[in-house]
Amino acid sequence: MNASSPEPVLSLINVDKRFPGVHALKQVSIDLRPGEVVGLIGENGAGKSTLMKILSGVYQHDAGEIRVGGRPTRFLDAADANSQGIGMVFQEQSLLTNLSVGENIYLGNEKQFTRFGIMNWRTLYDAAARQLAKVKVDVDPRARAEDLDFASRQMVELAKALTLEERGAGHLIILLDEPTSVLERAEIEILFARVRALKSRASFIFVSHRLDEVLELSDRIYVMKDGAVVAERNAAEADVTELHQLMVGRSLQAEYYREPLQKTYRAEIAVEAHNLSLAGAYRDISFQLHRGEILGIAGVIGSGREELTRTLAGFAPHGSGRLAVDGREVTLRSPAEAVDSGIGYIPRERRVEGLVLFLPVAANITLADLESLSRHGLIDAREERRLAISWVERLKVRTPSINTLCLNLSGGNQQKVVLAKWLNAKAKVLVLDHPTRGLDVGAKEEVYDLVRAVTTEGLAVILTSDTLEETIGLSHTVLVMRDGEITHRASANPGAKPRQVDLIGHMV
């Protein structure tokens, strides 16, 4: 913060990274001082993961400078980052569950325990025990990783990162990427206590979606948005609401979300949920979705909204409660059953679940409803072509032809093909799962236009979105979820949209 601060152990100076079509990091500058925990927050797509991947050697930066201990450097791969003292504890736990704790801790560095190629297991497990003692976790180094609970596994990962000390890496820099996402509160307390105790040995960069935790653990916090660092705060002087506003940034623009096109929804109920529960995911979810209504579900990671979305799309049937689509009670055991009920799913993984990339546009558009194209068991090719052409024209899909592979379309046009597929299948309900992820601004606006158009025609829409702003901007009604339950319902009529800060209070 001031001139008397010690020399940073890690400095990023105007680090820049581009991918085709995306400027992922824009002039990012971050300092990490000895013994410091720096929090890094931002919405999905803000650039946090790209930054972590550069620090762990997965990507290399295009411009700017990274300094470790004052010396300019770059990380060629994970092993290179390790050798420069960067340790990682990642959310997708990296332990191999079929190996023992000790084997995991020294995975890839077993050479020190071998003689003439033969492992001396005793020395390895003794060394592993010493590492585990550093994080004060009572785990048998010979236990298999799969027999440990998540909290212990996280500690083992921490112990593994600390082995870098023995390898002469000097002062360590440990990246904590969403380490708490699978932990219970008590487990989080333990993890945080260990991290604080280790500050004499290491500095930490802590990435989390849970702002309260970031505030609790960090000394300083950087806020990222759209690939740039937009704010830096001392944790002692910040609060959750302010941080969230810094993350979200933009003031709501009515025009952007086509608010004037938001029509009053109809009286008919398309989907009704009553006390819907799924163990470990969400409980007692009740709502009514009307024809022509957009129901936005807001919530942070772990709020249960993602699982609720998957339930409605047929991927994860609910455990108890009632779900009715078009007045008919259903349990959606597979996407096929959801489709039969009139539900269309626009997934976040557009290129995996949305489209068959190696099939042409026409085949993708008709994929969900080939029944009505079949005459005597054969697909009516002429009718298929006619339908595909009419959808391409109606949705203004920019494609050289209907025979072009979807692989060759831009993200926005791919998304239009997914939408065309469900409109062609006469879906009555659309589940939009992060529908604008990875799209540029122009493509987003086209998606908003189309969503407005189809709801005006009477489709009902359930929306989960990357940004709260988008959820509020598009929805008629917003449900806020926290820890698997609905904590707040807000109507979001044009001109009377709820404020983000009001909803954030119910999210965190």
């Binding site: 096929a336 039969d340 190696f358 994929l367 080939l370 697909i379």
Partner: protein
């Protein structure tokens, strides 16, 4: 944009590579042995290709959706044994029995693969073992020659129709039926979608398991038909009758340009692939290559064809 055009160019080239190869091979062998290009030889070539083509057609359906069927040669051999043992008693019913067995074996392989979630190569490797042993047991481990009276039932295979050998007509019927299934039905479309992008097909409401099982049923049925035709041509049934046909069949599918990873392919490509294999085989005979050494060539051809037809940059991990 230029890379996009480049890729399109390479894809085009890949698409026409098998047919070009076939034409070049025919010209090459014809130049070395002009007798090869005489109508009688070409007709013989077509007849010799039929069994291979029928086997390859069945397995094409499975490969299209990303699986494999390794039981086809055992199924074909078993079918030949069943025909040889029962044609005296059941007459034409023997053929139906053999093909019915093929459909059943395919159904069981499919169920094992889909419901028990066993990789298709394991499920069909095991099924192949079961079928091969069954053929050994019921045949008494020997080759069964058909008596003259029994051969009369084989005239639809061994005879001619308007001068064309029956076996070629059978091959053409298989071609037409399989092409219609593959290119003009929901099953064919779903297969392509599953092979190219199973998660998207599943999310679109396609009943993935059902399509897969049906593909195995087809593969088993066509394999049995191939065995029936082979029994007719050789006037015998034997547990090892089709023993050398698995490798050439899969090679035919892949050489024709159907991707071993699924999604891309057609019955026409399999026809071209089967013809390439046949021409290579005949060419080797003309050149005096030991008949037992031919699978060395087919093994190499299979590896090369897979290497050429798939873009490995898109596949980070191969198991």
């Amino acid at each position: 944009m230029s890379t996009f055009v480049d890729r399109l160019g390479i894809d085009r080239l890949r698409q026409w590579l098998p047919l070009t190869t076939l034409v070049i091979l025919v010209i090459l062998v014809g130049a070395l042995q002009p007798v090869f290009l005489q109508p009688a030889t070409l007709l013989q070539l077509a007849s010799d290709t039929a069994v291979l083509f029928i086997l390859a057609t069945g397995v094409t359906f499975v490969i299209m959706l990303g699986g494999i069927d390794l039981s086809i040669q055992s199924m074909a051999s078993l079918a030949s044994v069943v025909v040889a043992l029962t044609v005296a008693r059941f007459g034409y019913g023997a053929f139906a029995l053999a093909i019915g067995l093929g459909l059943l074996a395919g159904l069981l392989s499919g169920i094992a693969h889909v419901r028990l979630k066993i990789p298709s190569f394991i499920a069909t490797l095991a099924m192949g073992g079961v079928l091969y042993s069954s053929a050994l047991v019921i045949s008494g481990e020997r080759s069964i020659m058909l008596a003259d009276a029994e051969r009369s039932y084989q005239s639809w295979i061994t005879g001619t129709v308007f001068g064309a050998p029956g076996v070629i007509i059978i091959g053409l019927v298989v071609l037409i039926v399989a092409h219609v299934l593959q290119a003009h039905t929901r099953f064919g479309r779903y297969s392509a979608a599953i092979g190219a992008g199973e998660p998207a097909a599943y999310a679109s409401g396609v009943k993935v398991g059902r399509q897969k099982i049906f593909a195995f049923v087809l593969s088993g049925g066509f394999a049995a038909l191939a065995g029936v035709v082979l029994a007719g041509r050789l006037a015998s049934g034997s547990p090892t009758l089709a023993a050398e046909l698995l490798l050439p069949s899969i090679a035919a599918v892949v050489v024709g340009g159907t991707a071993i990873t699924g999604g891309v392919g057609s019955i026409w490509r399999t026809l071209v692939g089967a013809l390439i294999i046949s021409v290579v085989r005949i060419g080797m005979t003309f050149l005096g290559v030991n008949i037992f050494a031919q699978n060395i060539v087919f093994g190499v051809v299979l590896i090369v064809a897979v290497a050429i037809t798939i873009d490995r940059s898109k596949i980070p991990i191969v198991k």
